[in-house]
Symmetry: C2
Subunit: 326 residues, 2 copies
């Protein structure tokens, strides 16, 4: 199958790396809104093409991977490109997913394409864990913990504070909360009890560090509701110790079974990722395989990971899966 990548940031590079690792996939082109001549990509021999030329590629690409941001790119990009291509996106603005879904479904139904939205690990694999766990253990409660990992949005929020040169924010699950959940207590947890936030900040030489610290810990929505630590470091330390984009987390559901709720069953799915964008790109690539297969079977419309049978995600033949993976 021939894949295109639209957007060559961290996620686009992650998808490119994943495509190279899947023998049944080939990268056809990378599309960019930048000057194509300014971009050097990792895969030799693959054209870098201006996004303006996307319509010319409609018949040459099985699935187009939309590697833009959820804030402003994907709400426009996904519905408009679902008119021309089968597409996959990683739209992760949880509260706006139904609106995004409706816009994408209209476009994909009309054009006869398959458009998978909100793929990745959360939304994505974590969503799958929540659905399987909820179905299997109806009398229970599930919890999602994120981290320890870098939150791009929170890092950006710190960078916008005057006097901040650069920053990295880690979301960290509170170990006591995780343990209470694993123990089957089904606790009611506040935002503050579930996660804490660690900020590493490079300040300008003449900046007022106390004011920066205060601006961070009191910032509504981002930090005010959390226990937040602020550590000032040098630019050298930031580059040396905080260059990666690790992340991860877990979905845990505990439920009761048996007469008189006698027994507790614990379902836990967790990820520990050195590279958030590379892993997310790997998930997108695997699900692009399903999109291609569904489209070739004549399916159409907007899909989520919930609509996709696991057999379609795997490179192995169904008989092989039954014989060796069941």
């Amino acid at each position: 199958m021939k894949l295109g990548i639209y957007g060559y940031g961290n996620l686009g590079k992650g998808v490119e790396n994943a495509i190279a690792r899947n023998a049944d996939m080939e990268l056809a082109a990378v599309f960019t809104r930048r000057d194509p001549g300014s971009l050097t990509i990792a895969t030799p021999g693959v054209p870098v093409v201006s996004a303006d030329e996307l319509p010319d590629w409609a018949d040459r690409i099985d699935v187009l991977m939309l590697c833009g941001g959820s804030a402003t790119d994907l709400p426009i990009m996904t519905p408009s490109l679902a008119k021309l291509f089968n597409v996959v996106d990683s739209y992760d603005n949880h509260s706006c997913i139904p609106v995004h879904y409706a816009a994408v479904d209209d476009a994909a139904q009309a054009s006869g394409h398959v458009a998978l939205i909100s793929c990745g690990w959360d939304p994505g694999l974590f969503s799958l864990a929540r659905v399987y766990a909820g179905a299997v253990l109806p009398d229970g409660e599930d919890y999602t913990f994120w981290g320890r990992g870098v939150s791009q949005g929170h890092s950006d929020a710190i960078r916008r504070i005057p006097g901040v040169l650069d920053a990295r924010q880690y979301t960290v699950p509170v170990p006591e909360a995780v343990e209470r959940v694993r123990a089957g207590e089904n606790p009611e947890l506040t935002v503050r009890e579930k996660h804490k936030r660690e900020c590493f900040v490079v300040a300008a030489e003449d900046a007022d560090k106390d004011a920066i610290r205060e601006a961070i810990v009191t910032m509504p929505a981002y930090f005010a509701d959390y226990d937040t630590t602020v550590t000032f470091i040098t630019m050298e330390e930031l580059r040396r110790d905080h260059a990666g984009l690790p992340h991860g987390g877990s979905v845990i559901r505990t439920g009761r079974t048996g007469l008189g709720d006698a027994n507790t069953e614990v379902f836990e799915f967790s990820l520990k990722l050195d590279s958030n964008p590379e892993f997310t790109g790997s998930v997108l690539a695997a699900f692009a395989r399903a999109v291609d297969r569904m489209a070739k079977r004549g399916d159409k419309g907007c899909k989520t990971v919930f609509d996709i049978a696991p057999v379609d995600v795997s490179p192995m033949a169904r008989e092989e899966l039954i014989a060796h993976r069941l």
Copy 2:
């Protein structure tokens, strides 16, 4: 949806308990090869019926849950009952699954029913974890660890040794092996390095304990390839400390991503179960929902968990899942 249960052992009771916890399910009848009058079930008002009368119930049951054993019951039961009912079984003899699949598919295709085989947690949820993990991290290796939990088959093998009155065998993952796998080492592990076996044995008063211990630790296939401990206990201790059927385990896959395999990503799914049969019954009930929906859409033939889209397993409507679980 109306469910029937065939076989009222530990698993049948687990399914019964799960049905009571799902508002969209109703237990229609329990079928048994024993004298129906000898059986008292937990759900009030539900008939206990002789298995001979199963054909009379073909139009009154949406999905029949086959709660027999994999050794001798299910290879006969599932193909023969797939002629009359949509069915779910938990066939777990991994190496014989393709043969079982073929027999069941013949019957279900011919009769127009949906027959889900090898459902539960392994095979079942663990199989799903292996397939998703393998698709997402092609350059990696996956490992399945079982336990700490009671193995019925190994307990039975000990009970057959002369002088043994009763026994309970726990399968236990070797912690060092689990840690090496989690660390992304992708080690080659022998059977002995992955699991050890703990046996609690009640011997007859005049039995030769050394001979029993020797018979256990040298037993081919069951114990000879493992580090096995044997502890003799009294019948009272067995009843007090080993009455439950706990189990669990984990599927762990670590894979490489990025240029030069720079990064390691760890995917882990684990279960910690107070009651193996009650949790297995809960999984069977959830997937019976999907079987009913697939059958009502006109699907037919033998299915595995790989063929089932997660949306069909959930009691929630698709829109609700998209809005609240993605």
